[in-house]
Symmetry: C2
Subunit: 138 residues, 2 copies
DNA sequence: ATCTAAATCTCCAGAGACTAGAGCTATGGA
DNA sequence: TCCATAGCTCTAGTCTCTGGAGATTTAGAT
């Protein structure tokens, strides 16, 4: 039987976050010790590791909840799990594209500025003030 | 003199967001009409466009506040403005790198799953359960 | 058995950057 | 003059935690 602190150390999920996941219904309410402290077993450890991993991949709580619900029915087809992951992959790709555009824009702004002149002439400030100095649409 | 709605239309910043920016001290409290409605001038339009542009680039409120403070002193050197933009560029690049790793991982997971088999054997679910199936560290 | 320090409990507030709603008032055009 | 639209303030909710207050439990040392 693990305390919440043990579970935290083993999974890398902080203690208040574990309690938060319980509140959100991602993990079952734990058994309690005589003194009302949470006590966990191997199963809980696995479940939490699953959640941690999914969060690391950027899946949100709702998606994780859904995946957990799916995994409770091992004999159904896995189309939905596939869809959740594929959708997420798509949104990650979209984010990357957006950030790349930002990167270009910021690169251009920064490259014009060596920090040596006055605010008045600073390309950073001027770029922000005047959208016309931008290349692309954003 | 523009109403808050006019300002919103011209800058693409939503009305409640404009009020929020006022509350956060990014824009000066506007003059008011007899009936207590906000009235704006060209200056305010420019300021808000500046903020909008900076937000589009992903700068946070604190950074924008700093840039605004800097731009109030046009004859000082612009080293800080340069630094803010350069720092942000760095953090954008870091985010891109992280997301690319996610992308790879998700790609790998999804490519193993065609949605046609059962949850029990689903690579999506199995990957999440077993970190050992992952390539890299994350 | 007793003491103490660390861990845990619950509950509440805050982070960031808005967004939405309730309930009321002002404005502008027919 | 009427009425729809737009505006006002204030509060609360979003999402995923994170941190603190103040009380209690636990584990280990004496």
């Amino acid at each position: 039987m693990l305390s919440i602190g043990d579970l935290s150390k083993r999974t890398g999920v902080k203690v208040p976050t574990i309690r938060y996941y319980e509140q959100m219904g991602l993990i079952d309410a734990a058994e309690r010790s005589e003194g009302n402290q949470r006590r966990y077993e191997r199963q809980d450890l696995e479940r939490l590791a699953f959640i941690r991993h999914a969060r690391d991949l950027g899946l949100d709580i709702a998606a994780i909840r859904e995946l957990i619900a799916l995994s409770a029915h091992p004999h159904q087809p896995c189309g939905n799990a596939d869809r959740i992951a594929a959708d997420h992959l798509k949104s990650v790709r979209t984010k990357i594209e957006k950030l790349k555009k930002l990167e270009e824009e910021l690169e251009r702004i920064v490259s014009h500025c060596d920090g040596g002149h006055s605010i008045e002439d600073c390309y950073v400030i001027r770029s922000l003030s005047d959208h016309g100095l931008c290349d692309g649409e954003h």
